[in-house]
Symmetry: D3
């Protein structure tokens, strides 16, 4: 059993705002992140899969396939986007607030059903080098 982790980066903007809060409450809770114009980050995504090693290749997972899934399910949709306006889970009437925590969960939910052979173990997302969230799919 080995765990393999692949990093990727994407750039996106977001705003923290809860429509059920008053303007004052939004500002108090979210501070500068409540700026309605949005602001942005270079996000670093780490995807960890686990499984036994295929003796014929030495791989837990074919990296080309892993990268292809990461691009199709996450990066193609989130890179160079305003998360609150262009990403389904963070827009519309049931929108989640695009915090680092919610991004970790959303990316887990997108990747977990699409990975074949290897099993998703952890999604880690850095919003800045000093702040990151991990999701292991626990409920």
């Amino acid at each position: 059993m080995v765990y393999l982790t692949r990093k990727a980066e994407f750039s996106a903007s977001h705003v923290y705002h809860n429509p059920a809060f008053s303007a004052e409450e939004n500002l108090r809770v979210f501070g500068k992140c409540n700026n309605p114009n949005g602001h942005g980050h270079n996000y670093t995504l780490e995807v960890t899969v686990k499984g036994p090693i295929d003796a014929t290749t030495g791989f837990v997972v074919d990296l080309k396939e892993l990268k292809e899934v990461m691009h199709r399910e996450v990066l193609d949709n989130m890179d160079h986007r305003f998360l609150n306006k262009e990403v389904a889970e963070f827009s519309g009437p049931q929108a989640l607030i695009p915090t680092t925590e919610n991004l970790a969960i959303v990316i887990w939910q997108r990747l977990a059903p699409k990975l074949k052979v290897a099993q998703l173990h952890r999604v880690r997302i850095y919003e800045t080098p000093d702040l990151f969230a991990d999701c292991y799919g626990e409920v």
Copy 2:
């Protein structure tokens, strides 16, 4: 003569768009950066000053003053902002396109007249860990 460099980080969003270009030309020249909703980055700013060392303090520049100038002239105005909408040089009819290159020049122009004692030597701005621009105030 010694050169002292201080780093700071800020998060902002931007869009690349030239109103004199057609939609097709904007997309061809700027690609994903032309998304009108904007996208964002964790910018890293490095400010380098040069000068002789003050024998009574061992400093080229008082770091508290340098940090205060960097915050007042740059970070307070650009951090957690959409550059095209909220920063003077990148909004309005004479707006510059907020590329890494133009950011380096704008930050130089803001800092150079405000530094006392030490002389501004270089402004370096990273848009991502793999891309940065330097301005030495050359014309």
Copy 3:
């Protein structure tokens, strides 16, 4: 269930010395770290909390509160200090030796009872980029 990690840095000096050892034994066991004048490091602290996401904020923990606790319980007391002389757990007759391992445990013990809402999951402390210790509160 999501895990959120916040990094912070502090600078401190320390010395490794066991008064129950002879001078020769101290030098043999601790080498250069036994220099009685002390030497120092830029420590990097990573604090990980875990918990469910608050649906109204998207947060596992209010970052402002987490940072406030980290400063009050750890950084305000350890930053720019000589650990053996100025930090309670590492000075006095019952002093622990301020190794990376003991720092991880001491910081865990300071933070765990003070965190509300979210639960402390891990304290990681880097003494240098090449050496770090983790404490999960296991006994």
Copy 4:
């Protein structure tokens, strides 16, 4: 119970090739990594041991001993080497393909029986800053 991690770096070259595959299959599965001349990496190795803290030293493990074991069992044999030609597990008729995953397992198998006092917890090996494998000795 505390976990201590030590990093070390080594430079090596390798090639991915399965003699049971056709030339076409090798190229399809391994891509550029199938170049028979080999190519190389700066590997970063992280070794994590766990155990209680020795009250007389404040150490989970004597770092001098840990470094000595890491050098003798791994670095002296792999640094500045072509893994497929000069490292036993990756050469000869029973050779493993020197993927990041297999390196993690091989290093675990070399270190686990040689560590005294502390217990090996994890071997992490980075092939590049964006790709790493973890082995916890699970079977």
Copy 5:
């Protein structure tokens, strides 16, 4: 006048050997780097160009063009290669020894004549995070 720097990475292997030296002299001068099987590195290349900013784009250089030149002239030929066997300047009877210094010069000579609009200012190449060479085209 602004300077723009783009980073890229490639993996390659090499060996240091001067056929005019005796075996003993090669070993004495080049140490572990004289291993005839080769060993490898993750090289980081930084290419800096300088020039005025194009007012219609905000660019010193079109990044797509810069990346295309870097790939065509350097990365496509050196990535996942054994420099002494597969790269013209480092193989054959007039071969240079593929040191970090010579790599910087060779990459300068490949890029300088191919860049349009902007002017090549500096080629920096890291062999490891702790060792790098700079070439400014000085003779």
Copy 6:
């Protein structure tokens, strides 16, 4: 003409204090750095030498010699030391205040006369990842 840079790290402690200042003035000018017990840092030293490439070795400078000079002249004397008490330039009646700026100059003065073949071009010293000083030997 090529520039070669080698990094090295050392850990030291220091205090900022000018005996000609009053206690209040020392505290006002130096803040937390005025703690008489000292505090410490992981310093990163970058030494850059320049020169033509030796055609028989491909080197600007023999790295073994460069490292030997860096250890003998700087690291052996400063690593794991309290700079104000154990390093000549920062102790005694003519002591300089061990700021990052003064460290850069002192290290330049120690290295410049000892380097053979290649010429010292720059000494860079990081006190933290966010603060560094450069000395080019200018007067």
